[in-house]
Symmetry: C2
Subunit: 214 residues, 2 copies
């Protein structure tokens, strides 16, 4: 199946639609129009209409809208939630441990199968029934565990070295939580979650809005 | 001091520059040009040049660039890292606990002073010397603790109700880690970190690149 080209910003909106529709479904809402979805999420109506046309063939009923349950299913299919990808956590610190410990992402198709670290206090132990291996074992375990995604939560100073190891071991995608730029080559997808950047945006907007004397 | 208008995407780049420059500084690099900074981060040179002009008055030395230490200081000032804002964590689950437990963000001006939850197994206890209070106490504690920012890590289903309480208690900014849209009114800044959206982007790009048969 060939997939339509969608922008990063556009992709980021689909999980928002899904979360809103799941709320609607819980509240026994059966049908929803693009305009009420747009209104509920504070988005532009035309944008929402276009976004939805990409993920669903359902046209909706005039004056009523699309069936919520069908739209949820189509969004989940589009987002790949109906098949599972194996992932590992690299760097079992606070954030890494939180990832291993909660199963939130399993319903979204992300199956964390193991962690990797260098710390003797962590290697050899289990977290939430998932083993923590020494980083030296990446090369033999990534292929045998059928892992495509690495969730990178190491300290910044080792992030690039670890990335080189991951690429060599055959990882296809890196979900990067370290606040640094990674060179992973053209064959590997890197998606950055930069909490420092996000906080910087919040902090800057607050300071601008409330113009404190410093 | 009036602040120049900068876009969200632009703001998000400044912490990247900073992290790169800190690495340079550690490696005893004394000067850096816009072009080598751009190259190191895989960004457009003209963009980097414009970004830097907003945060620093340093013009740099021809063929050498700007002083790294001065640029770091100017970036940190621009990002508000040199003054501290008090924050609370709302919802002391895995992610909330990770926030309370590590002090990573203190150097970026974010001082977490307490957590709030409804769970008897958490309320009344300390995490990393920070007390966890019952959510009922928001109204009296937010003003007395001089808190401007709430880090929201509750379940989705209570996120909007808690947001209403936070706004009423006088919170100015919400760092939203719940995968849902919050209505907080015009007076409160909401910055979303939507991990589900981020994962959706990674997952979609992987599927598109490697075109698996499903």
């Amino acid at each position: 199946m060939s997939r339509p080209s969608v922008s990063q910003r556009q992709l980021e909106r689909y999980p928002l639609y899904l979360s809103y529709l799941l709320e609607c479904s819980k509240n026994s809402v059966k049908y929803i129009s693009s305009s009420s979805l747009a209104k509920g999420l504070g988005l532009n109506e035309e944008k929402v209409r276009k976004d939805l046309q990409i993920v669903t063939r359902s046209k909706g009923i005039p004056n009523l809208g699309r069936e919520v349950k069908k739209l949820i299913y189509d969004l989940e299919t589009f987002l790949g939630y109906h098949h599972t990808t194996n992932a590992v956590v690299i760097g079992v610190g606070h954030l890494g441990e939180a990832f291993m410990d909660f199963d939130e992402f399993k319903s979204r198709g992300l199956n964390i199968v193991a962690g990797f670290d260098v710390d003797d206090l962590k290697v050899g132990f289990n977290i939430n029934n998932k083993p923590v291996y020494h980083i030296d074992r990446l090369n033999d375990l990534i292929p045998s565990l059928d892992v495509r995604i690495a969730i990178l939560t190491t300290p910044v100073k080792v992030a690039q070295n670890v990335t080189d190891l991951l690429v060599k071991a055959g990882i296809k995608g890196i979900w990067n939580f370290t606040p640094t730029h990674l060179n992973a080559g053209d064959e590997v997808i890197v998606e950055d979650v930069d909490l420092a950047s996000s906080f910087a945006v919040l902090s800057y907007k607050l300071d601008t809005k409330f113009k404190e004397v410093k």
